[in-house]
Amino acid sequence: MTGWLGGEWPWYVAGPLIGLIVPALLIAGNKQFGISSNLRHLCSIIAPGKVEFFHYDWKRVGLWNLVFLGGVVIGGFLAFHGGTGHTVAISAETRAALVKLGIHDFTGLVPHEIFNWSALLTLRGFVSIVVGGFLVGFGASYAGGCTSGHAISGLANFQLPSLIAVVGFFAGGLAATYFILPWLL
């Protein structure tokens, strides 16, 4: 595909479209936009165990959100076939910094040298994928929301707790970027 549909979408197109998901869900069924609640729903379905937090009617509370999440996977699939195989046009400074850290392959959305199945057996692959994933799930559940629930839904509704959570997101992100990744990669 060529023209404005090809390559990456500009921020001033993508941002408002993502923002409109919030009122669309409210108008459809008074639903609050937030992806990470689904992690709790998945626990409730797969392995509630004796944990009280996972004993609730997930179908009533979360079926809509799990269906939404299924849509996100399909959306990713469709976008890939719309052409996301290209190299992400990051700034020259970022590229130089990442080369210094040992990244060589800049094709695709993620560095394939870290994010592939055999890399799971390496320290950097394991920490990036498994440890990182764990912290995302644990942290978002502890904070009661992730980028969608706090940074977008919460800040748009002027919630102080969300602002505190977003400060935390950046504190953790900067710490990992400047202190963990240089050692890990």
Binding site: G71, G75, V131, V136, H150, A171
Partner: protein
């Protein structure tokens, strides 16, 4: 079931709407490269306005929309009045500590929860392992919850 729900095919009709909105969200995130590890690195290094522009515009658009919905007392299609419960601050520990832990994971995986799922769809199959790990993380939180400060 409300009258309108019956009219548009009941619960299943609504689920189709949520599926469609999820598709739009996953598609836009992927096309905008919000799901890219490279873009997240660029953001945390403050070397491009792009991610801030996307998140900022999303917040502004959502804020204006919410204000308009409240101002005109719009009802949802399902017949409920639209209300967004406030988040409880409490001692605030969960937000700063949980948020920081989430941030560490966000930079390590280069993906927030929505992005993990979009990446699986876009063919980065190893992200299935990250998703499984994220679910495990949520489970451990649920298990430790009574003992954690909030």
């Amino acid at each position: 079931m409300t009258k309108i729900e019956k009219k548009i095919g009941g619960g299943a009709g609504f689920l189709a709407v949520y599926l469609l909105l999820g598709i739009v969200f996953g598609y836009v995130m992927t096309r905008a490269e919000v799901v890219s590890w490279f873009r997240i690195q660029e953001m945390f290094r403050f070397q491009s306005f792009r991610m801030y522009g996307i998140i900022g515009m999303a917040i502004v658009t959502a804020a204006i929309s919410i204000a308009l919905l409240k101002r005109f007392g719009i009802q949802s299609v399902s017949g409920e009045s639209i209300s967004i419960p406030d988040k409880q601050l409490g001692r605030g520990i969960r937000y700063i500590v949980g948020g920081t832990i989430f941030g560490l994971g966000w930079a390590l995986t280069g993906a927030c929860p929505g992005a993990l799922f979009a990446l699986v769809g876009s063919g980065v199959s190893v992200m299935v392992a990250a998703v499984a790990s994220a679910v495990a993380g949520a489970w451990v939180y649920g298990w430790l919850r009574p003992r954690l400060p909030h």
